[in-house]
């Protein structure tokens, strides 16, 4: 659903029409935020709270590498830190995807395996990333291990749950028919199992990545000496509010870009062939809520859905 349609203001509607359109409201929002920012600036008694201009200048200096702050080596700028974080995220993400898919398939195919893992998957899902970050930081020191392991632990339950649910939702009749017509096994896998697994797998990727990112920054704050999470903590420790807010904005920009430019596009491309399906009919069992909601996001491009955080780690 797209509530914000680019409404061409008709000449008859006039000014009132333009002001009343949802698009105007959406454009208005950032200005209101800046207004509130100034309101806070003038009302609270804080010597470090920056104005929007200061933050923009700070961010610009970070982007163009002209701030003059260099901590040690060449990689210690915005791009270096960002690349380190992305590399950690990607490594952890692929490990989570690999292991999670295997476990998820096994859980979907066998009830015994499902009973074996179920409660522990739920427990890992509900555990805050903060706990992993603090523990792994102590266990492994300030290397790459703690952040990568946190990404894996934060993302893996989403992969397992979604893959499991995908296997369970494969239409049985199609299997039966394929077998009746003597279709070879590899063809069944390719044309029946994989396509029906796809949406769930896609939801798994999306959430594992988003949740992994949230977990990663916490792990970098407590268990690392570099990366984006570490950098925002650096500015916090330095008591530079503009640094903290500036980096917070970098985080938001990154997350939004990832959602809008990568995942929304991928979803459009991956599911063009598919007829619309209602998510409700997929919700079955206690895992169902999570997986079906994840699925719903794929189907319904209403933007980011509730599921992002559903039982997710911060």
């Amino acid at each position: 659903m797209s509530t914000v349609v680019t409404t061409a203001p008709s000449s008859r509607g006039g000014l009132r029409h333009v002001v009343g359109s949802p698009l105007t409201a959406r454009v208005l929002f950032p200005f209101v935020v800046i207004g509130v920012w100034y309101l806070i600036y003038y009302t609270i008694d804080s010597r470090i709270f920056p104005t929007p201009q200061e933050v923009v200048v700070f961010m610009w200096e970070e982007v163009t590498l002209t701030s003059g702050v260099r901590y040690g080596s060449v990689v210690s700028n915005l791009y270096g830190m960002f690349l380190i974080s992305i590399a950690r995220l990607t490594v952890g993400f692929f490990i989570a995807l690999g292991v999670g898919t295997v476990v998820g398939l096994a859980m979907g195919l066998s009830k015994s395996v499902d009973a074996f893992f179920h409660d522990w998957v739920m427990a890992i899902l509900a555990m805050p990333a903060l706990v992993w970050a603090l523990f792994l930081g102590l266990a492994f020191g300030f290397g790459h291990e703690a952040p990568v392991l946190t990404v894996i632990l934060a993302g893996i339950p989403f992969v397992i749950i979604n893959v499991r649910e995908g296997v369970r939702n494969t239409p049985k009749e199609l299997f039966d028919m394929a077998r009746a017509f003597d279709v070879p096994q590899n063809k069944i896998t390719r044309h029946v199992l994989l396509p029906s697994l796809m949406p769930f797998f896609f939801a798994a990727i999306r959430y594992a990545y988003a949740i992994g990112w949230k977990g990663l920054v916490i792990a970098e704050v407590f268990g690392s000496d570099r990366g984006m999470g570490w950098t925002i903590k650096f500015w916090y420790d330095a008591h530079r509010a503009k640094g903290v807010i500036g980096y917070a904005l970098f985080f938001i920009i990154f997350a939004l870009a990832l959602e809008k430019l990568v995942f929304d596009r991928l979803a459009d491309r991956a599911f063009k062939w598919r007829p619309k399906m209602s998510a409700v009919e997929l919700a079955e069992g206690d895992f169902g809520a999570v997986a079906a909601e994840g699925f719903l996001v794929v189907e319904d491009q209403a933007g980011i859905d509730a599921t992002v955080s559903k039982g997710g780690n911060l």
Partner: protein
């Protein structure tokens, strides 16, 4: 009605039914067997790792945690910490929930929906950590700091769930009430809110599951009591047994609230509905 041909004596099952029941019983037994096996294996591996593979002080085993638990209760900090954290959750998430529900209901207006669209998206995709730090750096240890952090991470979750319900509103009822000139306020009270009730409950449950995590996170940075504070102190003093005991006791408590208490109320309230949506 004519007498049926096969009139069964009550209490006597056919062979087919017997077979089905036996099958189901076997399934349940097998399921429980594997479930218990899962617990035994995971706890066993954990107990084995602690002290043998990893230093016992780094990863205390389950038995150590069970032993530490009564010590924490004796220390007297246990209940006050729980109280402090629960108060924060109550205040922070309470405000976010209230605002989220109101905003969700207001998304019926496309203008308001457009206005807050980016706010909800941003709140959903950004890590809770940044709000905790931003709140802290602006307000210091004042309550506004952590309220801001909890609010920013959870309100959108509530809003999105409510908006989901708004989208599913029965259109014919709304159209009819409009055609008969029912006032907006009355329409909200008599159609929208009753229809949204299950969604509000779901929003509460999901919001809580995120809310307690971000609350603990804010306590790590900006508090002198509460679970998050105790976790930080324990990990800094390398008392990992205390660390895990704090974490796990609150973890179990939060899961109990979420999965048992809230879920049960939800089921109880909406059993009359044919399908509980979402």
């Amino acid at each position: 009605m004519a007498t049926t041909l096969e009139e069964k004596a009550p209490g006597v099952r056919s062979a087919e039914e017997e077979r089905l029941i036996a099958l189901r019983r076997r399934d349940t037994r097998r399921k429980w067997f594997w479930r218990i096996a899962g617990y035994v294996v995971v706890l066993g591996v954990w107990e084995f790792l602690s002290g043998r593979m990893l230093n016992e002080n780094l990863l205390p085993g389950p038995t150590r945690i069970v032993e530490t638990f009564p010590q924490l209760i004796e220390s007297g900090r246990f209940f006050s910490s729980f109280g402090a954290t629960l108060t924060r959750i109550g205040v922070g998430f309470g405000l976010a929930f209230l605002f989220g529900v109101i905003l969700g209901i207001l998304t019926q207006s496309r203008w308001i929906d457009g206005f807050f669209k980016d706010a909800t998206t941003i709140s959903l995709v950004s890590p809770g950590l940044i709000w905790a730090l931003v709140g802290l750096v602006i307000w210091g240890f004042e309550p506004q700091g952590w309220i801001f952090a909890i609010f920013m991470t959870t309100f959108a979750l509530v809003t999105v769930n409510i908006a989901e319900g708004i989208r599913a509103l029965p259109k014919d009822l709304m159209d009819m009430s409009r055609a008969f000139g029912v006032s907006t306020a009355r329409r909200q009270r008599e159609i929208v809110i009753p229809f949204l009730a299950p969604f509000i409950f779901t929003a509460l449950r999901f919001g809580f599951s995120i809310g307690w995590k971000v609350t603990v996170l804010t306590e790590v940075f900006s508090s002198n009591k509460g679970i998050g504070f105790e976790m930080r102190v324990a990990s800094q003093l390398f008392r990992m047994d205390e660390f895990f005991t704090w974490v796990l006791s609150f973890f179990v408590f939060a899961l109990f609230l979420e999965k048992v208490v809230l879920q049960r109320y939800e089921n109880k309230f909406f059993r009359w509905r044919e399908e509980v949506v979402s």
